[in-house]
């Protein structure tokens, strides 16, 4: 599903404190079936950008459109609910939203709210459970009795069970062990590829960006400073310096090798595999 931001401004309010323009006139276009990473420092407006997509935060000016639905500052309830069905949102630490007595009820909560039939719900629960890599024996358990990684998976299952066209995730791997994090991200990539969905992922880890994402969107002070392909961004060292973002590990190693040997690699290596191939090729010479 195509997503458009048309000169969107938004404020953030917490209690009596109002932060003006945490999203400061953003215009952007996210094409269908793309996997986009959103990176930027804390307070750059990433979370607000995600909330705008879902109508949880309404723009003060401008409009956000998801497919044929448009959200503006008036945000009609009916449209918002349609948008929320279309856009599945996985918050940071999504396991904090678990509440039901059993895993099954918790996963079924979203589909039920969006008006799926009973048969559909049973099917959706099974399907999404499989997609997040869990087995049905977990269904009658209490979500509070599970381990951290399992809770996270159940929470994500609860979101994808609503069959969203767009999946938005705010650091889905935060607080998990490295292995668990890789598993979750790999699972999300598979899900993206098999369902032709549009995925937006907020992350701080450049290794995740190069491993799982097609495009990257860099934010700073409520504005988008660049939006291009992952390879395009990391091929341009000047751009990286200007934006002040870090390098993925393989590329950093490549730069170190280049610095020490004085030999410049023919192209940038974003993954371990690429770097390995490149080095082996070099060894033959």
């Amino acid at each position: 599903m195509q997503i458009n931001f048309n000169r969107v401004y938004a404020d953030y309010q917490l209690g009596p404190i109002r932060s003006k323009n945490v999203v400061d006139g953003i215009s952007l276009e996210l094409a269908k079936n793309t996997f986009t990473a959103v990176v930027g420092h804390t307070g750059a407006g990433k979370s607000s950008l995600l909330k705008l997509l879902n109508g949880l935060l309404l723009p003060t000016d401008g409009e956000v459109s998801v497919g044929d639905l448009t959200i503006d500052k008036n945000g009609k309830k009916k449209t918002l609910n349609k948008v929320r069905k279309r856009v599945g949102m996985v918050f940071q630490f999504p396991e904090r939203q678990l509440f039901a007595e059993t895993v099954e009820q918790d996963i079924a909560f979203g589909p039920k709210n969006f008006g799926f039939s009973k048969e559909e719900i049973t099917q959706l629960v099974d399907q999404s459970l499989k997609q997040v890599g869990l087995t049905p024996d977990i269904l009658p358990k209490s979500p509070f009795s599970l381990s951290g990684g399992q809770k996270r998976r159940v929470a994500i299952a609860g979101i994808i069970a609503t069959k969203p066209d767009v999946l938005v995730l705010d650091e889905p791997g935060a607080g998990l062990d490295p292995e668990g994090k890789q598993e979750i991200l790999a699972m999300l990539r598979t899900l993206h590829d098999t369902h032709d969905s549009t995925t937006i992922l907020v992350t701080h880890d450049m290794n995740d960006v190069v491993t799982y994402c097609d495009n990257v969107l860099v934010m700073e002070k409520g504005q988008v400073t660049t939006h291009q392909t992952v390879r395009g961004l990391f091929s341009n060292q000047n751009e990286i310096d200007r934006l002040g973002i870090g390098l993925p590990e393989p590329l950093r190693l490549q730069r170190l090798i280049e610095e020490h040997t004085g030999r410049v690699f023919p192209h940038v290596c974003l993954t371990q595999q690429e770097l390995k191939d490149q080095l082996l090729e070099g060894a033959h010479l």
Partner: protein, 267 residues
Amino acid sequence: MKSLILGRYFPNDSIIHRLDARAKLVAALYFIGLLFFIDHGLGYLFVGLFTLGVMYLTKIRLSVFIKGVRPLIFLILFAAMMRVLFTGGGEVFVSWGPFTISSQGLWVGLFTFMRFILIIFISTVLTLSTKPVDLTDAINALLKPLRKLGVPVDDFALMLSISLRFIPNLLDETQRVMDAQRARGVIFGEGTIVEQMKKLVPIVLPLFASSLNRAEEMADVMDVKNYQSGEKRTHFRQLTWHTSDSIALLMMVGLTAVVIVVNYTMV
């Protein structure tokens, strides 16, 4: 939730903000007590003007105070109406069964209304202009004499300051959980009362779970840092008493004098 003003601190730099928390707390409690002894319109006019003056001195916009009253206005009007309807005496305008509207009743109703509004205004002044931690320190200082009777005053103050400390976190968390459930298709503020009550479960349960977790972590951390209750300890923040604080209390004495004079001369 966002409109809840009572109990919130507004950082600012004003005479009222700079007053010692102990002085403010004592003065506010005393003032509220005093309100119940006024039985003449002129007295209410006087303390009303005094309250407005104090509100002006906080340099906080009047609209903020009004916002603080708004959620309670129906309760106040209801209480005032009851007083109007059930108080007889003076000239009777309307009488219907047990209900009467009389001149005496109207006055009493007006007084009740004024009393509530002024109580809210003055407590709002107190909380808007005093940091919660200072307020707990003040409570701790004022309760100190009870320590001699074996009351665990310090533990009580610590409990109070911890709870106050976590109110913003709890509000933040509530917002987050509500957003998460909204994203899962919950529409708050719609449907029958039973339906709306059911919608609270997905908010309250995660909040309970996280609060219990946090409390446990907090207790562990305090144990690790070897916190012992009942130990004598010094304070990081020191409350200091200035001349202005004495003046504030003297003004309360003056106010009392005025109220007494008005009560006895204007019968």
